[in-house]
């Protein structure tokens, strides 16, 4: 039932896992899948070995686990019929719902979810046997959330593949061999580019994420707020702060580089906040194509 202990697992990890398994065996639901105490401890050791959380105590990681769902996933991996029953009963609806929410199309959603089921069960598209994708779930978040994320990854993967094939086909049909410069894209003053690159690089990652999500991806304040778990007004304020600060610092750099204030202001005027040609979210919803799975990091 349980996998063998990782050879990298130190005695401290094993001890922590065994102690935690003893304390939480009943609530883990391991017994109903025929997983004994040692089996549960092995699962925990395996998870601890996979986690790359420097400075975090093993106990802290174990306490944060979605234990019952982790056990269910490992029981499914071991081929326990009852576990698969429970898995399907609990998550099938959520899987299809997530697929439909993303694809907005019944056929695509069903194909997406069915294909994912095949991977979860450990079957390839041609029916060959291989390891289940469930082995990548380590109880960091909820199993339902992990499934939604996997569906989303697959959906994005599908889009990426479709886009690549479409672009290639179009290029071949048009007889294009080399990419041509976009005539509508004006040359950027090297000083502006240098100043912008420096200031962007100096921005905190969270601010770059906010700017990219809002100005590049066309995400709304509500969407960003939902993802970050904060109020829309907080996102708005942070965005104002990030964009305003960026503009101010770039302008200052330009002037320090010898650019006249008026020209620097004109460079700053070169904005149109939501004029990006490609809105990824909208384009994704139009994408259809053969399914393939997002490649997880092996190991």
């Amino acid at each position: 039932m349980a996998s063998a202990s990782s050879p990298q697992a130190g005695p401290q990890l094993s001890a922590a896992a065994q102690a935690f398994a003893s304390e939480h065996y009943a609530e883990s639901g391991a017994a109903r899948f025929g997983m004994d105490l040692a089996g549960l401890a092995n699962v925990l050791v395996e998870v601890l070995s996979q986690r790359d959380s420097p400075g975090r105590q093993a106990r802290e990681i174990l306490e944060s686990l979605h234990l019952e769902e982790l056990v269910l996933s490992r029981a499914c991996l071991a081929g326990h019929n009852g576990a698969w029953e429970l898995f399907l009963t609990r998550y099938r609806g959520a899987m299809y719902e997530a697929a439909w929410r993303m694809a907005r199309d019944e056929g695509s959603a069903k194909a997406l979810a069915d294909s994912l089921y095949a991977e979860l069960y450990g079957l390839g598209q041609r029916g060959e046997s291989r390891a289940s994708k469930l082995r990548y779930y380590t109880g960091r978040g909820s199993l339902a959330g992990w499934l939604r994320t996997v569906v989303a990854q697959e959906y994005v993967n599908q889009y990426r593949r479709t886009k690549r094939e479409t672009s290639l086909d179009a290029a071949v049909e048009d007889g294009k061999q080399f990419a041509a410069a976009d005539p509508q894209m004006p040359e950027v003053d090297p000083r502006v580019e240098a100043a912008t690159a420096s200031e962007l690089a100096a921005l905190p990652a969270e601010e770059r994420l906010l700017l990219a999500a809002y100005y590049l991806d066309g995400r709304t304040l509500a969407e960003i707020a939902r993802l970050l778990g904060v109020h829309e007004s907080t996102v708005s304020r942070k965005l104002e702060h990030a964009a305003g600060g960026l503009r101010k610092r770039i302008r200052k750099r330009l002037m320090e580089a010898g650019m006249p204030p008026r020209q620097a202001d004109e460079a700053m005027q070169d904005v149109d906040v939501r004029d990006l040609k490609v809105k990824v979210s909208e384009t994704l919803r139009q994408a259809r194509g053969e399914l393939s799975f997002y490649k997880e990091k092996e190991g």
Partner: protein
């Protein structure tokens, strides 16, 4: 946003490429659910800032999680819309997908009209909840519902009847004899809604006609409601829309026909899977006079928690985890299929709940919500140790 960022900045942002590999789904989900450490969050944020694909993933996953919670409200709004439009052809198109989701409306309607009447099921895929009323009424024959008559019986009872039919069918017996292992992939591909009403309702996924007709009964347990009071009050706009629309009919037809539909075409894996579920879990019900009862056979019912002075209103089943609630804020939990029970104190900061528990919903064994007839709700994220009121 009064001001944007320079075009050069946008172009540079767009040209960013993430260093290293994409974070795993586990890590991205942890980020979405905010269960990662500060160090992990920093790493993921850094990646997301430069990776448009992973940004799409987390936004899609985040939206899917949120929309799941919003579904009940959306279903209610759409129901009103369709009720106003009448039973047009377009309405039928709508009902194709809205059929299972309408179970959600029962919960919403129950809150909106503030009635202590029967409220039926809208539960996530993980739970199945039965709500009973103490106001008896003549039961409506299943056959009449299957032919398009207004539904006057809780849908869960219909599901249970169908499940019972299936259990007694020749196919079910054949499945019991079958030794083939369960193939969840087959199960998933061949049957649209393992969870029948709850899963479909929450999912809101448009199911094909054939799929709906081949819906199998609940796989892991069957439930039964003996109370036969009307689903909701007929003088409510929502209620009358609900009981008179084709939704009930199609749902009932789908479920009532399950035994027959599944029998000839069922694959060994499917039948075995369903039978496993039916055989290994007791059935639960709340009697018309407010008692929690359990049966292993479907015929002989045994009173559970008989010593408790509680008029039970709702029982929720999720695998071996059973939750039952009723008058006086009573809430009981069993994690071993009903062998042992623990009384759960529903309250916080020394203040106990005294209202009647009318709904129980658990997404996992740890995370759940309990609804009170006053409109209040309680939630827990640790299996009922600590509750917070909303």
């Amino acid at each position: 946003m009064n001001q944007g960022i320079p075009k050069a900045a946008r172009e540079l942002l767009a040209r960013q490429r993430p260093a290293g590999e994409h974070p795993s789904a586990d890590m991205l989900n942890g980020y979405v659910e905010q269960s990662v450490t500060a160090e992990e969050k920093s790493r993921v944020t850094n990646h997301l800032a430069a990776c448009v694909e992973c940004r799409e993933v987390v936004f899609l996953a985040s939206a899917a999680a949120e929309e799941r919670r919003d579904l009940a409200v959306a279903a209610a709004a759409r129901l009103e819309q369709v009720a106003a439009a009448g039973r047009s052809k377009a309405g039928w198109s709508f009902w194709r997908w809205a059929a299972p989701a309408l179970a959600a409306v029962v919960v919403v309607a129950g809150v909106l009209i503030e009635r202590n009447r029967i409220v039926s099921t809208l539960r996530p895929a993980s739970t199945r909840t039965i709500v009973a009323s103490r106001q008896p009424a003549p039961p409506a024959p299943v056959a009449s519902q299957a032919t398009g008559q207004p539904a006057t019986q809780p849908q869960a009872a219909v599901s249970a009847t169908a499940a019972a039919k299936y259990a007694s069918s020749g196919e079910a017996r054949a499945a019991k004899r079958a030794k083939a292992p369960v193939n969840p992939v087959l199960l998933a591909q061949q049957n649209a809604a393992l969870e029948v009403a709850p899963a479909g309702a929450v999912a809101g996924l448009p199911l094909g006609k054939e799929e709906r007709k081949s819906l199998p009964p609940p796989a892991s347990q069957t439930v039964e409601v003996t109370s036969a009071a009307p689903l909701v009050s007929a003088d409510s706009g929502l209620a009358s829309a609900f009981v008179n629309t084709p939704t009930s009919e199609s749902l009932t037809a789908g479920t009532a026909g399950m035994g027959k539909a599944a029998a000839p075409a069922a694959k060994p894996g499917l039948s075995n899977a369903v039978q496993l579920g039916l055989a290994s879990h007791p059935q639960w019900r709340i009697s018309g006079d407010g008692h929690l009862e359990r049966s292993l056979t479907g015929n002989d019912w045994t009173r559970v928690l008989a010593g408790e002075i509680v008029s039970f209103r709702v029982v929720s089943v999720m695998g071996n985890d059973i939750w039952a609630g009723g008058s006086g804020g009573a809430l009981f939990h069993s994690s071993d299929g009903g062998l042992h029970w623990k009384k759960v104190v529903l309250g916080a900061d020394g203040e106990a709940e005294h209202g009647t528990v009318i709904s129980i919903r658990f997404d996992t064994v740890l995370q759940g919500d309990v609804g009170i007839d006053s409109g209040a709700s309680w939630s827990t994220s640790d299996g009922g140790q600590i509750w917070s009121r909303h």
